[in-house]
């Protein structure tokens, strides 16, 4: 009986105390005809040893790759200390800190996290996390619409925002009759087209501004922010938090001294100490101006004092949340991504402002070096002219799927094929080299790509066929 401590004697004594004749008797309120015969369809119990062997086998089957994939999830070095502390039972096996006095560890950490995120984004307040960057964007859209006094239910969502984020936002807001309107990008620079925006002025509750955008390109965030405010819209930043160690924080976006900066900033916290993990768990972050704090979704931790006046921490502003406000809550979110926030907080504390900035700089330098190497090859060119941060788009003159498959056969994941989301960029690859990559890794990529391209005339016999269909 894995994980069940009961001895025969325990069971007998307990049934006796209850006054029940058997375990079955405890289910006597369940209508008999609903009873299921058991879970025979589920494979039999394995010992920890056997599952360990199975899992190791599966992991070994998948192996490791030299990856140049970014597109919203980034490979960074995570200090060994981070997950050793995160895995401590006291963090790992606690619930949401409902009993504040018995949860000061988690609560203080969250308060520290909120402080770090507020500062990193240049805004006043942070919540304690949302599911991921994409749902955080959706929540920001809902928040902006709630905050809109005029009842406008339309939000401008540039095409340069991560396509998956746009899809999630769409799925999450459409049932509330909110319209998300795309904004095209300039084909030369790869950033949002300010001219196109002008056409859309007026009826929108907010403009979303990605920085860097999905192509790695740096948007003209000051102009966009000021434009949004000039048109009575909120400015919602979607940012890579690592980039913010280097880039102007959203809270300061805008030109001139009158600007108030972006109103809300969201993004995915994964680059801050969360392993790629095949896609999750990551965490969404959200910060905002103080004025919007009561519109925020998700938990927040506040500092207060105890009976003796000693400082301590509690969940606060719970009246926004579903367990109090129910149908009128700012969101239905309950469980969030607390443990990942724990990792991020320790990660940021270990790196500090200089360390985080160095990671950003090194990642960026690696991507620059890679791009330089690749565009030196015949048949490869850069696509967009804007400055980029740690990720950029290249165009290749043979079919992208073939290129990527051939690279994969050499243990290299060459990047993200943009054609899937942008048909006009079907010959383009989004590549990223973080600080984890060495000069040798970059050189491997270049050499392999050169080899692949140089055979462009015949079909390369070393390209394995696609496994699917």
């Amino acid at each position: 009986m894995p994980f069940i401590p009961h001895t025969e004697a325990d069971i007998a004594a307990m049934l006796d105390s209850i006054g029940a004749s058997s375990l079955d008797a405890l289910f006597d309120e369940i209508p008999v005809d609903l009873n299921c015969a058991g879970l025979g369809g589920i494979p039999p119990s394995l010992s920890e040893m056997a599952v360990t062997r199975l899992a190791h086998g599966r992991a070994a089957q998948d192996g490791f790759y030299s990856s140049f994939l970014g597109a919203g999830a980034y490979e960074h070095h995570i200090p060994a200390a981070v997950w050793q502390i995160v895995s401590r039972g006291e963090f790992y096996t606690a619930y949401t800190p409902y009993q504040a006095e018995a949860s000061q560890g988690t609560l203080q950490l969250l308060y520290e996290y909120q402080t770090m995120m507020a500062s990193l984004t240049g805004l006043d307040v942070s919540n304690a996390s949302l599911y991921d960057g994409a749902t955080a964007l959706a929540e920001a859209v809902l928040m902006a619409v709630r905050a809109n006094k005029a009842g406008v239910r339309r939000v401008l969502l540039p095409d340069t925002v991560h396509p998956r984020y746009r899809a999630v936002a769409q799925a999450m807001v459409k049932n509330q009759g909110i319209e998300l309107v795309g904004v095209p990008f300039d084909k030369a620079s790869g950033i949002t087209d300010l001219a196109a925006l002008e056409v859309m002025a007026g009826e929108a509750a907010a403009l979303v501004i990605p920085q860097p955008n999905f192509f790695g390109a740096l948007e003209r965030v000051d102009a966009l922010t000021d434009w949004a405010h000039a048109h009575a819209m909120l400015a919602i930043a979607v940012a890579n938090p690592l980039a913010l160690a280097l880039l102007k924080p959203p809270g300061l976006w805008g030109e001139g001294t009158q600007t108030r900066g972006a109103d809300i900033c969201v993004g995915d916290g994964q680059p801050l100490g969360v392993p790629l993990s095949s896609g999750g768990p990551y965490f969404g972050f959200m910060t905002a101006r103080q004025a919007l704090v009561r519109q925020m979704p998700g938990r927040m931790v506040g500092r207060t004092v105890d009976l003796d006046g000693k400082p301590g921490f509690v969940l606060t502003l719970q009246a926004r949340e579903q367990h109090i406000r129910r149908a009128k809550a700012t969101s239905n979110i309950c469980s969030n991504q607390g443990l990942l926030v724990t990792a991020a907080t320790i990660h940021m504390a270990l790196l500090g402002p200089e360390g985080l900035k160095n990671v950003a700089l090194s990642s960026h330098a690696n991507t620059r070096a890679l791009i330089d190497k690749l565009v030196s090859l015949l048949g490869v060119e850069r696509v967009f002219s804007s400055p980029f941060f740690h990720e950029a788009v290249i165009r290749v003159n043979i079919p992208v799927p073939d290129v990527l498959r051939a690279l994969r056969a050499q243990g290299i994941l060459g990047g993200y094929a943009l054609g899937r989301d942008y048909p006009e960029l079907a010959d383009c690859i989004l590549v990223c080299a973080t600080e984890t990559k060495t000069e040798d890794d970059l050189e491997q990529y270049r050499q392999q790509l050169e080899r692949i391209l140089s055979r462009r005339n015949g079909r390369d016999p070393s390209v394995p066929p696609c496994a699917y269909k």
Partner: protein, 482 residues
């Protein structure tokens, strides 16, 4: 002390960052940051020590009995952590081709299949990242279903008053109006009230069974019949699945959509707030609307089902498909328990709850539903004690902390005054339950003899009772350097 107070300008954890990072001289100055963010400048030792010590200020399953009702705080097997964090799984990029992750996909696919078996549903998607996210998914599918049939007048979701707050909040997020229905004296849905609200506006019903009152909704078949006959669909909030695993399945009860909190029933850790995972299961008719991605198996090869595979899908719920690490932990757990072990979960969770209820009743506590069988949890009401001594459920809860027990859930469900919702889970031993009964009896006695002691609790924790009101009134959500 905050980590910022351990910091010092110029201090660094030097092993943790590449040195001599090259300047980003290609970036326009106006896009760059002027001042450094307020991250602590600390040594590695100070950071490790600070967070290790902070952790010690938490109660957790690994250190205390944690009978938090509705949260299923059972033992989180350590192997789940180890195996979910195998380096290949951790290093895998979410956008890497499926060919490079067949081992990983095999685990997810098995989990998908096991969840189908355990719930009796026709199909499962692992995408939602928590229970509430699963609820959203389920209700959005219900809406997509009606919309697809042009049945667009259905704009109401019926929800019992005992429901968890996520249920009504979810309905609102899906653009629905909530119709709340009362609970009867026995803790059941009031059937008359249900009959009175159903109709052509009914999109569906959301129900937790066993309910958050800790009892099994006996008339479940009738309830679903009423809803279905009115043209509505039925959503099952699977937060309490631990109570009935292998005994009765939501699919067999007739539900159309469900979610499962893997961080409850499948024992993935809650991490002080999350992450969870809330896979959804659906009946045949909702299958076309399942969110993406989910795992497809075709001729022995796995891949994600994506946009092209399911044109009617309600779409994506996350950028990269869900909380994979949580799913892997649940997979390990399910494989260790197997079919028989999963059924035992319900048996012993129920045994523990009923035993604890019986012992507490013997110790003089009032059960909210004494005539009912407890499911995996049950409610004690301290109304009488409060009236007699002024000691409220919250005071009682805080005093339990002094005895080394995490408090049960307080003031939820809201119907029962001064309630404690107690869920022992199957992984706790009789000795632990007995020790808890002793502590409960002791606190009751203290409440009667020295009520101030209880009202001033806790006395032995890192802080005494904290001022919630001040926290909300004088908002302090981020530290500022002095």
């Amino acid at each position: 002390m905050l980590i910022f107070e351990h910091a010092q300008t110029g201090r660094r954890a030097h092993a943790q960052a590449p040195y001599d990072a090259p300047a980003a001289d290609d970036l326009p100055a106006e896009l760059l940051r002027g001042t450094a963010p307020l991250l602590p400048e600390s040594s590695e030792l100070d950071v490790v020590r600070h967070y290790t010590r902070l952790s010690q200020k938490n109660f957790s399953i690994d250190t205390q009995f944690y009978p938090l009702g509705s949260c299923t705080m059972k033992y989180n097997p350590r192997a789940c952590n180890t195996l979910a964090m195998l380096p290949q799984f951790l290093a895998r990029h979410p956008l890497a081709d499926a060919e490079t992750g067949q081992g990983f996909f095999a685990c997810l696919h098995e989990l998908q299949e096991m969840l189908k078996q355990a719930t009796g549903m026709a199909a499962v998607s692992l995408a939602p990242m928590a229970g509430a996210h699963g609820e959203f998914t389920g209700v959005a599918m219900i809406r997509a279903y009606h919309d697809a049939r042009g049945d667009t007048a259905r704009r109401e979701i019926i929800i019992p008053d005992a429901a968890h707050g996520t249920n009504p909040a979810t309905a609102s997020m899906c653009g629905y109006t909530v119709r709340e229905i009362p609970t009867d004296r026995q803790g059941n849905v009031d059937l008359e009230a249900l009959r009175a609200v159903v109709g052509p506006h009914t999109a569906g019903l959301m129900l937790t069974n066993p309910s958050t009152l800790g009892v099994f909704e006996k008339a479940i078949v009738t309830i679903l019949k009423i809803v279905h006959e009115a043209g509505g669909l039925a959503y099952y909030d699977g937060a309490n699945l631990n109570a009935i695993l292998g005994r009765v399945r939501p699919g067999d009860m007739g539900f159309d959509a469900i979610h499962i909190n893997l961080h409850k029933t499948f024992s993935t850790p809650h991490g002080g707030g999350g992450p969870g995972a809330g896979p959804v299961g659906v009946s045949e008719r909702l299958m076309p609307f399942l969110p993406i991605p989910y795992v497809l198996e075709e001729r022995g090869l796995y891949r994600w089902a994506e946009e092209g595979d399911c044109s009617q899908s309600i779409g994506r719920l996350s950028a990269f498909g869900g909380n994979m690490g949580v799913l892997l932990r649940a997979w390990v757990y399910a494989r260790m328990l197997g079919g028989v072990g999963l059924r035992r979960v319900a048996d012993f969770a129920t045994l523990n709850a009923n035993y604890l209820a019986a012992e507490l009743q013997k110790a003089g506590f009032d059960l909210a539903f004494p005539e009912r069988r407890a499911s995996h949890e049950f409610i004690v009401s301290l109304k009488k004690l409060k009236d007699a001594t002024g000691v409220a459920a919250m005071d009682f809860a805080k005093r339990l902390l002094d005895y080394g027990f995490h408090a049960p859930t307080t003031y939820f469900p809201m119907l029962v005054p001064e309630c404690l919702l107690i869920e022992p889970t199957e992984t706790e031993s009789k000795e632990t339950l007995d020790a808890f009964v002793t502590a409960m009896a002791k606190v009751k006695e203290e409440a009667e003899m020295t009520p101030e002691l209880v009202k001033g609790a806790p006395h032995t924790l890192p802080v005494r009772r904290l001022d919630d009101v001040k926290a909300a009134r004088e908002l302090d959500l981020a530290w500022k350097p002095v």
